[in-house]
Amino acid sequence: MNDSFIQINGISKHFGNVKAVDDVSFQIKEGEFFSLLGPSGCGKTTLLRLLAGFEYPTSGNLLLDGSDITALPPDKRPTNMVFQNYAIFPHINVEKNVQFGLRKLGLTNDEITKRVKDVLSLVKLEGYEERYSSQLSGGQRQRVALARALVRQPKVLLLDEPLGALDKKLRDEMQLELRTLQKEIGITFVFVTHDQQEAISMSDRVAVMSEGKIQQMSSPNELYKNPQNIFVSDFIGETNFLKAKTNSKDGEYINVNIEDLGSFKIKNNLNISENASDVICSVRPETMMIDREKSDWDICLEGKIKQTSYLGEMTKFYVETKEIEKIITVSSQYFDNQSFQDGKCFISINLNDISLLNKK
């Protein structure tokens, strides 16, 4: 496996004054399921379009499998794209759509027929050859788009929010299928999405983007457990932020003065050495405990439930305490919601579950 299969070297793309992609460098491994994750306007789609050849970078260069593709037009690149709206040609049927990209590959008619047949069975669309785009459901169109790109056996498959238009149930199904498919055929996938759950559940690695820059690039697990800054922590899942100031360092730990709560010794995951620097403490809702009784956890705060929202598999609580204005926490469905009718509750936190974030 080639660890630097795709090399993105100092790529910038400016549209007028807007820096859509701002001096980004990273590498994608061969056979990897790589996701670009970020809110709309963060530059993830522009980066994907730069890889496809629909845009050319303002500066920097792109290498694919060792050769420079920066200036190649889209038809000369060994990449194929699955478009957000699928872009199925409406005037030709499914079979011809899938064949479309094979004409220029110099295959014999038999090879073309075989490839089309194979790929249609791969995406489970046998029997739909004669249909037109208008006669297909959203999920089926998505499969046609996938088949049309895969049939060319590209080195890299680029996917631009391909699941965005599907309903939730179908989306979950397609996530699993896409992941299985990618493992099966072993093609490198570059997947663009704004849905953090989608990125986390499917990818080998995720690059979180914001304002044209990569904020963090790591495995989904690392991203959730060890976000490097507030943006990533906030974007990946839900979390509570508490302002704090650092005190003396103590081996692997550091004494931190959390605003309105007092001084605590927490794991120094940022390796901060200086005193009195501003940091943010992040506590995930699911690491906290909500109960009627006081607990013996490291921190236990008395509070009042302001709002609850029932989510089926769990209930989310918005709690106000004397010390902190708003805490979000969740409980499992086994928890008896009725017991909180008067609104009085205790929130418990373990120091192990607090992580430090740079205030940036």
């Binding site: 050849g53 629909f54 038809d75 794209m81 478009f83 872009a87 049309r148 790109a149």
Partner: protein, 294 residues
């Protein structure tokens, strides 16, 4: 009774449709069907003398038409000129519409309005201004002579088929712009990107995707230009001279100074049928042709 009618009206879609259509239906009946019927019936009569018409049924006028070489050749010329005008207009209007549809990001409407700006003045005025441009002492000839490039003025520019073609092309360009623009603007640009992504060059993408998908607009433009230009008589009358004369000028003469109403009516009917047949053939073959390409 009123109540019955009201409840019938509320439930009946055809009733609503016809009442909405009725102004148009009345107008079409009065201003189109009746004159058309009159014209058709006149084509079966005979002009006996200058003032007298024999109203007994005969198809002799149609036979007369095809026996007069002049009329047949004028009909062919009318169709030919219209074809050229249609083709040249499409060729010039298509790239403009392509540009506005795909490359202009803001104020698309403004571009379209500006392009139709010359058409805010009367048709007759525009035809006359072409006279000033194309004439022997017109803008083109005098500037070429003054520049020393010519010693004699170009005569084929004025009172010729060329003059008719140039003027008609200009006169009808705006009508081609709108259907072409609408059909191109409807094309999702990601389809074009997808074709490029799948290995097609720019030109191949145009043939396989853009052209077939803009076909409704092309057919619309062909019909909108071809049908009225075949029957145009103002431009050939003013700029055509003898060389650029079309069938409609002859029809006008039959209804006017020649005073042979039945033959004029027969000529007009034949022209009507010819246009109908030609348009059907054109739209059918255009459709087939693009199906073959894609």
């Amino acid at each position: 009774m009123l109540q019955v009618w009201k409840s019938f009206y509320a439930r009946s879609d055809p009733a609503k449709a016809y009442s909405l259509l009725s102004p148009a239906l009345i107008l079409v009946t009065l201003a189109m069907l009746i004159p058309l019927g009159l014209m058709l019936s006149f084509s079966f009569f005979t002009q006996v003398s200058f003032t007298e018409i024999d109203y007994s049924f005969t198809v002799q006028r149609y036979i007369d038409f095809f026996q007069k070489n002049l009329l047949v050749s004028l009909l062919i010329k009318s169709v030919k000129i219209s074809f050229i005008v249609t083709f040249v207009t499409l060729l010039t209007a298509y790239p403009v519409c392509y540009y506005i549809a795909f490359y202009v990001k803001k104020n698309k409407m403004l571009w379209l309005v500006l392009l139709t700006l010359p058409f805010w003045t009367s048709y007759l005025l525009r035809v006359f201004s072409w006279k000033i441009i194309l004439g022997t002492k017109g803008v083109i000839n005098s500037s070429l002579i003054n520049a020393g490039l010519l010693s004699e003025p170009l005569t084929f520019l004025m009172y010729s088929e060329t003059a008719v073609i140039i003027t008609l092309t200009h006169a009808w360009a705006a009508f081609a712009l709108l259907p072409l623009y609408v059909s191109l603007d409807k094309i999702d640009f990601s389809l074009i990107e997808a074709a490029r992504d799948l290995g097609l060059s720019r030109l191949e993408t145009f043939w396989k995707i853009t052209l077939p998908l803009s076909l409704p607009g092309i057919i619309g433009a062909i019909l909108i230009i071809f049908i009225p230009t075949v029957g145009d008589y103002v431009t050939p009358a003013l700029l055509g001279g003898t060389d650029g004369r079309m069938l409609s000028n002859m029809i006008q003469a039959y209804f006017g100074k020649v005073n042979n109403l039945p033959l004029g009516a027969a000529s007009a009917t034949i022209m009507l049928i010819t246009v109908a047949i030609v348009t059907m053939i054109v739209s059918y073959t255009t459709k087939k042709l693009t199906q073959r390409i894609s």
